[in-house]
């Protein structure tokens, strides 16, 4: 492949995990830069201008979330978070701080690479202002406020469409519950996840071939939702 290599910055204090990540990413033709502390991470990010950051949240000299916050101040570079399975609150606050996605430890190689590809792809497309989004078989026209699949066109209530639009604008990226509720209902209804659930259920009834096994609109338990093309691992 003659395509220019993507540069990935790995922020992780555990050498063996760094080792695995480096090997894996190099075999997938990425160029890898490493940092083992939060302070180092910011220096490397500024000097190497990476295309993707993979950040572990527990660092010896500070929280990975601080790194995310600081990088976000000057760059829209995609950021992937590595976190343990049970730390929902940590994930949510990392996402709210500006992370694009997270990968749960222990991770499998294909999963990590798929997430990295998705993040890079989204960034490449982010610049082009398009009003028609294609997600797998699903086409969403933000201008016309319609959505369709090969099976036909679907009808949404205004609020349903706003939820869908909100997820579609961030295709592939996790949108936290709080972000969704704020975008759709405004800041006053901050804790109202109950109605959100009902809307998600209704949207699934319309876009999913099998609503009990959603493939487009995925729930990230305790964190939020992600609208993405069905992953074929």
């Amino acid at each position: 492949m003659t395509q220019a290599q993507y540069r990935v910055l790995i922020v992780e204090d555990e050498p063996s995990i760094r080792d695995v990540l480096r090997t894996l990413l190099q075999t997938a033709n990425y160029r890898v830069v490493e940092a083992d502390t939060a302070a180092r991470a910011e220096i490397e990010a500024r000097s190497h201008k990476p295309d993707l950051l993979i950040v572990d949240l527990g660092l010896p000299d500070g929280d990975g979330e601080v790194v995310i916050r600081n990088v976000r101040k000057w760059s829209p570079v995609p950021i992937l978070v590595l976190s343990a399975r049970t730390m929902e609150e940590q994930k949510i606050s990392a996402l709210d701080a500006g992370a694009d996605d997270y990968v749960t430890k222990p991770f499998s190689a294909p999963e990590l690479l798929a997430r990295a590809r998705a993040a890079l792809r989204r960034n490449a497309r982010g610049s082009e202002q398009t009003s028609v989004l294609k997600i797998g078989d699903l086409t969403i026209d933000l201008g016309q406020r319609t959505a369709s699949t090969p099976r036909g066109e679907m009808h949404f209530t205004p609020l349903e469409f706003r939820v869908l639009e909100c997820l579609a604008r961030e295709t592939g990226r996790i949108v936290t519950q709080r972000q969704l509720v704020r975008e759709v209902w405004g800041p006053d209804r901050d804790g109202d996840t109950r109605s959100l659930r009902v809307f998600i259920k209704n949207i699934r009834q319309k876009i999913e071939p099998d609503p009990s096994r959603p493939r487009y609109l995925i729930t990230e338990a305790g964190v939020g939702y992600r609208l993405s093309a069905p992953v074929t691992l």
Binding site: P106, R194, L196, R197, S212, R213
Partner: protein, 897 residues
């Protein structure tokens, strides 16, 4: 003489007292017969000598009195700055207790032990009296030197007043004097003292004349000197006896006397208490001050009833046990109490009634003397009437206190009317004498129902009506026949007797009723406390009851592990006392004494604080802010409040014990869980580790000689085993987390299909080729649960299906809404649950089948159970109709409180 062994309890008590003394600072008192004998001088001289030998000594406060010699002695001694206190526009210099506590010298010199602090001053003092300040210094381990004159001793107060004619307002409890570690008697012959006085060495010149005239008479000084010497001798005697106990010497001479001091609400009571104290001291006997509440005494004025509490408090401060008894008459209650306590001496005031009144109703004293069995009755003669003694104001107060019930008089008149009507009806057929009976009945009813006044009215009107209507000449008042005068008199007497009888019965009922109410209120709180678990819940119950009963705002403050009090958390009970003064409360907790409103310490504070628990086991503080300050201060109320505090203390102590027992039980269980866990998972951990290590080393060393397909197979088995171990480890961690009880649920609204969908995606094809079907009604309400945990429940159940059923098994998950819960049924058509030990299925490390190659350590179902229990539900195993396993459980639809 009989050899008597020291009582072990007494020995223990004396050892404990010695230990407490060792921790406390030492109190040295410079004691004199009168002002001017040179106490302060001697004290400062001793201070100079001590300081010269290098001891850290600070003069806390010395009354200057403008004496030059004293001021000269002060030079060169470290002096604590005095505290300026403003009072009615004047600034006075007072001893600064807080500064003294901060400075913490080895020895603190504070003059004038009997000094009273200015309660209304600004800043207000912590204690009303200086001896309390000094006690606090001693408690913190500071040695204190101070001075006091004999006339300031509480028990000698009235004697001194009798001799000198000057009543001393500033007194100290004898206990302070008796417990002092060292007392130095400063003795100066009266002539020398008078000499010094004339030379102006004692008071400044202009004051000297009046002082000499009134107090410093030679006869007074001789008496005071003698009293001081005697008191000193008594003390030496007492300490010799105390030592004898420890030395296991014979105690035969300490025959157990018990002195009862019986007091009434009369002016002599105070004198009786002091006389009792002197007698008890002389006999070295324990003593009690007893007050009897009789129906008659309940009628006393408020002021006099308040005096009772002062008297009991005086007794307490003199070292007596105080008791309030209830009884029909004082004498019978006293006799009964004397019997139960084996009293040997009863001290009473002299009888007051004389002449015919004494003959008609014997006084308590006479009654006691007549019925005395096994004890002596000692009568204290009355002192000369003091002009300034407050006269009793009982009649006026009573009348103004009781409203007149006009309606009752009205009813009495209605009865008259009815009687007259009946009499008219009977007049034709009966003799007039019989008509009198009807009127008598009417008056009797009035006496029973409406009390004395209406009864008298009824009698008068009845006789008038009878005379007017039926006695010839009819319809005129002219008594022709003398026999109707007799009718009138008898009717009046009968009515009055009945009315009085009823009044006294009613009074007794009221006393009994009040007592019953007290008992009932206390019982109500105790019962609710007994049914309450946890100290915080108890505090809330206590606050509610106290607030209700005493019509006040209340708070129960409990200390944390470090003994510091904190304000109670959010959501106060109605009636909670918010904004209590933590510093006062902390003082109460640290010292185990009450403080605040109406107590000895910080009496100007708006609220009263009582310690909970016993002296050496302090559990907390009860704060009470009365809506009406006078209400909590009433003697009955205060006694009741103390009883309440006692009950609350007991309950809190019980809860504390239960908590620590529970804590150790949990600890033991956790310990045993840990052991079982280790034993059980070691097998499940070793197997996959062996596979991983073997496969990885083969790949590393023999990579070239392996076929690509073989290499991949080995790598895949490393991956799979690592995945299994991850599952196992996180299961174990989760379970530990649940078992520790520290699991915090992150509840949120979730739809069931979403939760199941997440569980299915977590299975990632491990279920294949088995199928899962959802039967969820469209109108199923969202559930309020922790999403991750409930996903885990479904994942664990699905995992079991994957592990224990044949390929092709069909799973059906169905749910129905049922009130505020959703019932979930999880069915499969596999082999079903083993009938044996089905109940133990949820125990840790239980597998449905015996030991096998399946990884999982049998934790799955116990985790499910722990999660569902945390959500307030339960999971139960069953059989699917038509074969297979079934699990049912419920999930909450409402937000948990």
């Amino acid at each position: 003489m009989v050899e008597s062994r020291p009582d072990p309890d007494e020995l223990l008590a004396s050892v404990q007292a010695a230990e407490a003394r060792a921790r406390r600072g030492k109190l040295r008192i410079f004691f004199g017969g009168a002002a001017g004998v040179g106490k302060t001088y001697s004290m400062l001289e001793a201070a100079r000598n001590t300081q010269a030998s290098g001891v850290d000594l600070v003069v806390g406060y010395v009354e200057p009195h403008g004496r030059i010699e004293t001021e000269r002695l002060l030079e060169g001694l470290e002096q604590l700055p005095t505290l300026p206190v403003r009072y009615r526009g004047i600034t006075r210099r007072e001893f600064d207790l807080d500064a003294a506590l901060r400075r913490r010298p080895t020895i603190m010199v504070v003059d004038e032990l009997a000094h009273s602090n200015i309660i209304e001053g600004d800043p207000p003092p912590r204690h009303a009296k200086r001896w309390q300040d000094i006690e606090e210094l001693l408690d913190t381990g500071i040695d204190v030197w101070t001075t006091v004159n004999v006339q300031h001793l509480e028990s000698l107060n009235d004697l001194v007043a009798q001799i000198t004619g000057v009543r001393q307002r500033e007194t100290i409890p004898d206990r302070i004097f008796d417990e002092a570690d060292e007392i130095e008697l400063i003795d100066l012959p009266p002539d020398d003292l008078l000499q010094r006085l004339k030379a102006g060495k004692i008071y400044i010149e202009e004051h000297a004349r009046t002082a000499i005239d009134r107090f410093f008479r030679k006869s007074n000084l001789i008496a005071l000197r003698e009293m001081a010497l005697r008191r000193m001798a008594d003390r030496v005697d007492a300490s010799a006896r105390a030592a004898a106990v420890v030395d296991r010497a014979s105690r035969a001479w300490m025959a157990r006397d018990r002195v009862l001091v019986a007091i009434g609400p009369d002016e002599q009571a105070e004198q009786v208490v002091r006389a009792g104290k002197r007698l008890a001291d002389a006999l070295d006997a324990p003593w009690s001050v007893v007050y009897v509440e009789t129906p008659e005494l309940l009628k006393l004025s408020q002021q006099e009833r308040n005096r009772r509490i002062d008297l009991l408090r005086l007794g307490e401060s003199l070292g007596a046990e105080t008791v309030t008894l209830d009884g029909p008459t004082a004498a019978s209650a006293l006799l009964e109490y004397a019997g139960t306590r084996n009293a040997t001496k009863i001290v009473v005031g002299a009888p007051k009634r004389s002449g015919w009144r004494a003959w008609l109703r014997r006084s308590t004293t006479t009654e006691l003397a007549r019925r005395a069995r096994g004890f002596d009755v000692i009568t204290v003669g009355e002192m000369e009437q003091r002009a300034d003694a407050p006269r009793s104001g009982r009649r006026e107060d009573i009348d103004s206190a009781r409203p007149i019930h006009w309606d009752r008089y009205g009813w009495a008149l209605i009865i008259n009317a009815v009687c007259t009507l009946i009499a008219f009806a009977m007049y034709e057929y009966f003799e007039p004498t019989n008509l009198v009976m009807v009127y008598l009945l009417g008056s009797t009813i009035a006496g029973i129902r409406f009390g004395r006044g209406p009864a008298v009215l009824s009698a008068v009107v009845n006789v008038a009506a009878f005379d007017f209507c039926f006695v010839p000449p009819r319809f005129a008042f002219s008594v022709m026949d003398a026999q109707y005068l007799v009718t009138f008199t008898v009717m009046l007497i009968v009515t009055l007797v009945i009315a009085n009888l009823m009044a006294s019965v009613r009074q007794q009922t009221r006393v009994a009723g009040a007592r019953e109410r007290r008992t009932f209120l206390l019982y109500a709180m105790s019962r609710e406390l007994a049914a309450t678990r946890g100290t915080d819940a108890m505090a809330r119950v206590a606050v509610r009851h106290v607030a209700e009963v005493f019509q006040c705002k209340a708070v129960v403050l409990l200390p944390d592990g470090a003994g510091k009090l904190h304000l109670p958390g959010e959501r106060p009970e109605p009636g909670s006392f918010v904004g209590s003064d933590l510093s006062i409360a902390q003082w109460v907790l640290d010292h185990g004494r009450r403080a605040g409103l109406g107590s000895d310490t910080l009496p100007a504070a708006p609220a009263l604080y009582l310690p909970l628990g016993s002296e050496d086991h302090r559990l907390g503080v009860l704060g009470v802010l009365p809506t009406n300050p006078r209400r909590v201060l009433l003697p009955e109320q205060r006694h009741l409040l103390e009883t309440f505090a006692g009950q609350i203390g007991l309950a809190v102590e019980r809860a504390r014990l239960a908590e620590s027992a529970e804590a150790s039980r949990v600890e033991a269980e956790t310990e045993s869980l840990r052991n079982t866990l280790l034993a059980s998972i070691s097998h499940d951990l070793r197997t996959p580790l062996a596979v991983i290590a073997g496969a990885a080393s083969t790949l590393a060393e023999r990579s070239e000689s392996l076929e690509p397909a073989e290499r991949e197979r080995l790598a895949r088995s490393v991956e799979r085993k690592a995945h299994d171990m991850t599952e196992l480890v996180s299961n174990v961690l989760d379970l530990m987390h649940f078992e520790s009880g520290r699991l915090a649920l992150h509840r949120d609204w979730q739809t069931l299909d979403d939760l199941i969908g997440m569980a299915l995606s977590r299975m990632q094809g491990r279920l294949e080729p088995r199928s899962v079907e959802l039967r969820l009604p469209d109108d199923l309400p969202p559930v309020h649960v922790d999403a991750n945990l409930i996903v885990q429940v479904f994942a664990n159940l699905l995992d079991n299906v994957a592990k224990y059923t044949e390929p092709g098994t069909h799973v059906v998950i169905s749910a129905t809404a049922n009130g505020d819960r959703v019932e979930v049924t999880f069915d499969d058509d596999g082999p079903g649950l083993p009938l044996r030990n089905r109940a133990r299925l949820f125990d840790k490390f239980q597998r449905g089948t015996e030991e096998g190659a399946t990884i999982g350590a049998g934790l799955g179902l116990s985790i499910c159970r722990a999660i569902l229990r945390a959500h307030g539900g339960e999971i139960s195993p069953g059989e699917r109709p038509g074969g297979g396993a079934r699990f049912t459980f419920t999930l909450p639809v409402k937000e948990a409180a």
